[in-house]
Symmetry: C2
Subunit: 435 residues, 2 copies
């Protein structure tokens, strides 16, 4: 096959999205299962390609966490294939009617969910992300342009081939999914605002920020995950310890891990020594402001610490005088991801939940719950810290938009204004007349 330009790929994805937006859920779900079957058939090929990518990554001395994300074990492969049947069993995100109104006698308005169109996804080393994101796009009827990391090139190509073989068998338009090759292709994609409706970048902070600054296409995602735990006075000490320790240590390298602890001055002297011994045991390095350092022995935290996503066994700590100082700190230095309060004071809790301007505000539980699967969405597209369209963990809904369908019998606005009929604005059954 001749190499396509990025623009041609986007056009084909656009045509395919229109075809997909008129398919039944059954066809899209069968296609997901067909991809699963094809991945099983091509497992040896894919794992071989992956071995070569891993060898090269090691030869090039890439970091060991990166190599471990890159490596596809048979176990990971199985989970990836299982994910496809799980996705196929989720309800159809398309065709939901969220607003149904009779505007006037014989004139019915429906707001129906439908695919967004063409989505550009740029992801890093994890090759399973390719399967996950393309299947989410297919389930929601979108066309997709994918760009993976250079280090996973062979694996991604093998996976991509298997995916297309799966959907070809069901005669879906093959352009629904394309794989971009180079960074130049990505730059090209970011300019195609007439053909591409949404960009989802998954990667490092700098990378996501670069994408947001360099595209006039809307972007959904998150750069930083600077999550806070605020321990209030009064609080239950055991809860405060459990939530702080889980938020920081349950997994260091994830965006919903806590990076900063804010502690009420009334309770700091009791709480901090307890926390210190628990965290030292787990090998967590502590950095505190002056008041923290007057209570426990730790390194100095500077302003840089408040805006740093460590993704590591480090916790910064600040003593605050009340819930309002905690709220101000979070709104100033946080990234709008997820922030928790541990408190037994109702008014403080209510204030924190209302005024912290983040996608997730939690009471007496760990920040680690910020996840689409845990939220009950069945699948996760990603986590967004912007406020437009989707916020927080995104399920399939985040890949959908809606259109208004209006059905009349020759209704005109002229007749309405001439008083020949009048508006009724009556709620009606959410069922299309042509369904």
């Amino acid at each position: 096959m001749e190499k396509q330009t990025t623009k041609q790929m986007a056009r084909h994805a656009r045509d395919a999205f229109l075809t997909l937006s008129d398919t039944s859920a059954e066809i899209r779900d069968r296609a997901l299962l067909a991809i699963g079957d094809s991945l099983i058939r091509h497992q040896d090929e894919v794992l071989l390609a992956n071995e070569r990518d891993v060898e090269q990554a090691k030869a090039e001395d890439l970091s060991s966490p990166l190599v471990s994300r890159l490596k596809l074990t048979p176990d990971k492969y199985k989970r990836m294939v299982d994910g496809l049947s799980a996705l196929a069993s989720l309800p159809d995100p398309l065709g939901h009617i969220a607003y149904a109104k009779e505007l006037a006698d014989g004139l019915q308005l429906y707001r129906c969910s439908c695919p967004i169109g063409v989505i550009g996804v740029i992801f890093e080393s994890r090759p399973d992300a390719l399967v996950q994101i393309s299947s989410l796009c297919l389930k929601s009827g979108n066309g997709v342009l994918l760009k993976g990391g250079r280090e996973a090139l062979r694996t991604n190509e093998a996976l991509f081939k298997a995916i297309l073989e799966g959907t070809d068998r069901l005669h879906l338009p093959s352009g629904w999914c394309s794989l971009l090759q180079s960074r130049e292709d990505v730059s090209e994609m970011l300019k195609l605002d007439q053909l591409i409706d949404l960009i989802i970048p998954r990667g490092s902070n700098e990378f996501v920020r670069f994408i947001i600054q360099n595209s006039s296409i809307p972007v959904l995602g998150h750069a930083d995950g600077i999550c806070h735990v605020y321990v209030d006075d009064p609080c239950d000490m055991a809860t405060a310890l459990a939530v702080t320790i889980d938020s920081k240590t349950q997994n260091y390298s994830v965006c919903n891990a806590a990076e900063t602890l804010l502690i009420h001055e009334g309770i700091a002297k009791t709480f901090l020594p307890l926390l210190e011994s628990a965290l030292r045991e787990k090998g967590v390095a502590l950095r505190g402001d002056d008041r923290t350092r007057s209570i426990i022995d730790c390194a100095m935290a500077t302003d840089v610490d408040w805006t740093t996503e460590y993704l590591d066994a480090i916790l910064s700590i600040k003593v605050v005088k009340d819930v309002d100082e905690a709220i101000d700190h979070i709104n100033q230095y946080g990234s709008g991801h997820t922030d928790a309060i541990v408190s037994e004071h109702n008014a403080h809790v209510r204030r924190f939940m209302a005024l912290v301007d983040s996608a997730g505000v939690y009471h007496n539980c760990s920040t680690r719950f910020a996840d689409g699967f845990l939220y009950g969405f069945g699948a996760e597209v990603g986590i967004a810290t912007g406020k437009i369209h989707a916020r927080g963990p995104m399920g399939l809904e985040g890949l959908c938009t809606y259109k208004y369908k209006l059905y009349g019998k020759g209704h005109t606005v002229g007749d309405l204004q001439a008083g020949k009929y009048s508006l009724t604005h009556r709620d009606i059954e959410p069922k299309l007349p042509d369904a």
Copy 2:
């Protein structure tokens, strides 16, 4: 008062938004009524300022439609004030819970609507837009930075003064609303992506495109409104005439007016002569493709016509061979605003409604219905042709986002993974524990 920088204004709007997001609907609604009262008290002042703006506009030879939009008559003024009490009587858009789930025993998740934050609005000559948009922002708890047209400077300042006097009486933070002075202030605003969450531009195509291209802040709005009517075969001829004529002529200068008629070849010879005589009577100039010109006498339509929003008494016409050619034409040349099919063929209708990629797809009714008030939203923020966040006419909902509130009893992900408790994912009553 010392002049603030745009950045200071944005910071004050941000502080005010947080305060507003914790106010009751009652306070926000009383504030809207207080603005109405203040506008009544200051009516003479505002109308005097408006007269001076109008005089200057005439002296500067501005176009008469522009002067007419600029002119505030006592009647328009009354409608503006009435709009405030109508808005106050609408339901509160904040605090709606659209998703409520028990994740595990004692761990409850709620998705609650809340204000977006700080919104930048740039609008043209109509000074009533200042009152409308600032009141919509207040109702939805957002801070707002406003920039009006230079030609309405005196009117806008007088209106702005009256608005703030109204909300000052209720001790709302005065920074909730600020008026920018210059184009430089707008350029400055477009850079403040840390402080401003959304830009809503209302103005000419070029202007809106400029804003979209020059800001990394999300933008909601529409550049073009290139709406189509497609007359299918078979159709009811009287319906086809009524819908086409209303879509084109009911108001020429609005974004939901039709600019292009697509007509099925099987019916063109019957329909076009009827349409021609009806539209000529109303002074509408016709431009057709070759096949149209073989049936009726009209000017030649070129490719430029298919992408032009006339906003005038001009209609371009193209004969197509079937509904698919109509759909392709609309998806290629349209602006994703609103497009109608007139047809008595169910499969054609279903296909058109599914495949036309526009915010509004209509069957047997006029494109002029694309309007927030007609849709039953009570208030209209604007019309969006993008697909992210809001699409089509936007009600107050378009000015809201949501946050996830999670309430636990010391729940950790570590305990979950250790099997100490399990996920329930049970639907629960949408009512906050701290409400």
